[in-house]
Amino acid sequence: MQPAIRRILPGLGIVAVAFAVIGAVAAAARSTLPASPPGAEPPGRGVRELASQLDAVLAKRAAAAGIEPAAAADDLAVLRRTWLAVAGTIPSLEEIRRFEADPRPDRLDRWLAAILANRRSAEHLAGVLADAFAGTDGGPPFVYRRDRFTSWLADALHAGRPFTEIVSEMVAGDGLWTSEPAVNFVTQAASGGRVDENALAGRVARSFLGVRLDCAQCHDHPFAPWTQGQFEGLAACFAAVRLSPLGVRDSGPAVLRIEPAMAAAGMMPETDAEAAEQMPAMAARRVPPQVPFDEASFTGSGSPRKRLAAWITHGGNRRFERAVANRCWAIAFGRPWHDPIDDLPDPGPAPSADDPLDLLGRSFRAGNGDLRETIAAICSTAAFRRASTHPDLDDTARAAAVTQAWAAFPLTQLPPGTMIAAMIQAGSVRTIDPDSHLLVRTVQFLRSVDFTREYGGGDPNEPATIPQALVRMNGRLARELCEANAFSGPGRVAGLARSNEARLDALFLACLTRRPDATERESLLPVLAAGEPARGVEDLYWSLFNSAEFCWNH
């Protein structure tokens, strides 16, 4: 072979590899969403009836407060909210195009049903619930596998398993945390071969009963009727749990031994009887498993955890269904019906047709216990589909009343994970979903990890901080996503759109799920016209990512 050709061949090889890589990357974000939403039956009559009942309750409240509800929101605005609530991201440009091309009058209902049936929503909801039920701390290494826990939850939700079953497995499950992932609910509180019963008691009460008992760990609750004894009884349900290489089992004695600090410090009186007389709560004592209310239903044979699971989920426990309802409300609206989300007012003597928590709770019990139906009902209400603008929201004196009456859709901050997902989706035009190429999802994951590390957890109830604003404005992820190259959203918008008007529309749709109004066209078209369209597109992507409208759900 001639020397010259020999020199060229490796170069050709490199070029071939490069093309292969480019081809793979170009194919990477291919979506498999078919032409119309799959299996797109609208939600059933039950869901629509429930939605009407909820709207009736809210209408009464608004009327009583003398507030006119806000006008109906644009379909695209509702689509955006639905995606944020259910899928934890915003609709992609191609999803928006297909939605707008859908001529059916009930297209919002159908698209809601479609996204709820999609695996993406199960994964997002599983993440939200895992944070709520198992906390956001790292948890003990090896015995707590959050990834398994979340994917088990996603599978269960996607399969439509009754939520009562899911909760029972979490509370009462046995086995290894890798093969029986439900037990990670318990192992999150693991500590030296056992579990922290107090942490679990508090967690069970907040997650599944909508009650904060935590104060009662150390003394009778200062402003609620819970006693320390009730807390200890609940904790005792977990006293038998032991962790071994075989997993979680109830192999210990089913009684909670309490040795107060005074005993440890050698300050105990001579006998237990004396202690019990002087300071009942200070005596060393053994507490059997018990529940804090409705003791009569804490029956049956089986381990205390199995009895506890049955007690939590049984049909007469209205706190359970109300807690579920409140969480679903928060998933849809970004704010729970009652705040704090895990500390609800006591249920009345009977379910009330004026209390959305009771309406949703009863319906949840009557149906299959599929959380997605409850969420579907909420997202089908007129309240969910109202605008977030309202004339009284410009008036300091009246704004609070509008918010309390749910007369306009509330403004809530996107959690960091959702904001990242939205930025990445907006920056990529094609839909990113479980069918997306692994490369794309890996890149998404890695970028998210870095961004999250710098951005921090973030309490959605609190405004973003200056360091967080700096990450959004100047951080690496923002720079990468705004960059106009062959494969990025900005690059495609700049390259494929035929005019600056079309580019501006595409930008706004990709980021804000709407078109620009006349004033915005007037002030922003010059940005695109100023130099290379690609630069203007990059600039506007940046501005849109940092806008309040992008960072807040509305």
């Binding site: 003990p140 918010t403 921090g456 200056i466 700096l470 109004d517 940005v527 940046w542 309040a548």
Partner: protein, 432 residues
């Protein structure tokens, strides 16, 4: 006011002779001639010396530093391993021989050798020592640095009042005080702050900001009150102002003399300590600097020797620098980790987690130097140390040394009143 200097017999004269600038600075502060020192950032920190309001520098030794290989060695015992001990500037007190420079300067410090927490897990232990409270699922506690920033606000400071330098798995947080007391994190200290440089040049950046402001104005129409409550624009403008602030120069060590940079050590942690001094000078209230690598479940002795090489230089240089610049009386320095390590050496020549008697160092501010609190069993048999000091007591001590009332109760968002620290300052450790 003169800062306490170690007896001159322990200070190698060669070092003193080689650093005429240091001698001059030391002499200036000793004679009360602080005004001869380089001026502090104009508005942020008006004074030096005792009258200055106090700051906190926390050197966080992540992973659980072994007390036996740092400040509480027990050479020649069954648990001591190969670690030797050296005399220090505090008569009768010895520390591990890997810390000669700290030993020379130990008279600035007090030691606590009997810290106890009930948390043997890294995340929980870090929370316990950083906040003085056990982790609570319902109420996130603020780190000491956040408490200091909250209780002692600084006027005219553009930089965030609580800064965390270095990479840390479990950084301090603002907790129930709010996200604005979360630390501003700079992962690689010494070059610049974090995320302060816009992606594009001035004219383009200005165009971007104009477009952004227009978008936000339109968004507020019909949503004025809730949008105002988001503080989105307020935060944005504050971030933009910070990006243009002159005080940002504190994050860069480029204009520090080479000798100073060499003294701290050309390591990320060493640079971090130098940045910490600069930040405190600029008026920042709390700075955390993290050094990782102390979690030596295997090869404990070689691992700790490597860490000592970094920490000894940086800590000694920091204390010298603060003293020379007349900042030691107004800067509390805490050197601590989440727990200690087991007296028993495991089969991998390592030590495991031990929250039942571990050590920390305190210096500066209202700390009374030269004290040693508590003792651990040289045979490693007794589990509890003598004179145990809880994490709540440590918090109270640090807050008292900062001049903060540790018993002040704040109403937390869950309706529970909570003291800034549960515990009491260790007797004899805080002046006044």
């Amino acid at each position: 006011m003169p800062t306490s200097e170690p007896p001159s017999t322990l200070l190698p004269t060669a070092i003193a002779a080689a650093c005429p600038r240091r001698r001059l600075l030391a002499a200036a502060s000793a004679l009360g001639l602080s005004f001869l020192l380089p001026p502090l950032a104009a508005r942020a920190a008006a004074r030096r010396g005792r009258e200055r309001s106090r700051s906190l520098i926390t050197l966080w030794l992540a992973g659980g530093p072994s007390q036996l290989e740092t400040w509480d060695p027990h050479p020649g015992t069954a648990i001591g391993g190969p670690t030797r001990a050296i005399a220090t500037a505090i008569p009768g007190v010895k520390i591990a021989s890997d810390y000669p420079r700290v030993a020379e300067r130990l008279a600035h410090f007090s030691l606590i050798r009997s810290l106890v927490s009930r948390e043997g897990d890294h995340e929980r232990g870090t929370h316990a020592v950083r906040t003085g409270y056990r982790p609570d699922p319902v109420l996130p506690h603020p780190a000491l640095g956040a408490v200091a920033a909250h209780e002692l606000p600084t006027a005219g400071l553009d930089i965030p009042a609580y800064v965390a330098l270095g990479s840390d798995g479990f950084p301090g947080r603002g907790g129930y005080l709010g996200g604005r007391f979360d630390p501003y994190r700079v992962f690689v200290p010494g070059l610049a702050g974090q995320n302060l440089v816009p992606h594009v040049r001035d004219a383009r950046q200005e165009r971007r900001l104009v477009a952004l402001r227009g978008l936000d104005e339109r968004f507020a129409a019909g949503r004025g009150v809730p949008v105002g409550a988001t503080l989105h624009d307020h935060t944005l403008e504050a971030a933009v102002a910070l990006m243009a602030s002159e005080q940002l120069a504190a994050f860069s060590i480029a204009d520090e003399p080479a000798a100073v940079r060499a003294a701290y050590g050309e390591t990320p942690f060493g640079r971090g300590c130098l940045v910490a001094r600069r930040l405190v000078e600029a008026g920042v209230r709390s700075v955390d600097v993290t050094l990782r690598g102390f979690d030596t479940h295997a090869a404990n002795f070689t691992g700790h020797a490597a860490q000592a090489a970094i920490l000894d230089a940086a800590l000694a240089a920091l204390v010298d620098d603060l003293a020379d610049r007349d900042l030691l009386e107004s800067t509390v320095v805490l050197v601590a980790g989440e727990f200690g390590r087991t007296p028993r050496i495991n089969p991998l020549d390592g030590r495991d987690h031990w929250p039942h008697g571990f050590s920390c160092l305190l210096a500066g501010g209202g700390v009374v130097p030269g004290q040693v609190v508590g003792a651990t069993d040289p045979e490693g048999v007794a589990r509890e140390p003598e004179r145990p000091v809880t994490v709540g007591d440590l918090s109270a001590t640090v807050l008292a040394a900062l001049g903060i009332d540790w018993q002040r109760e704040l109403m937390t968002p869950i309706g529970r009143p909570l003291k800034l620290a549960e515990g009491t300052p260790v007797e004899g450790l805080v002046a006044g």
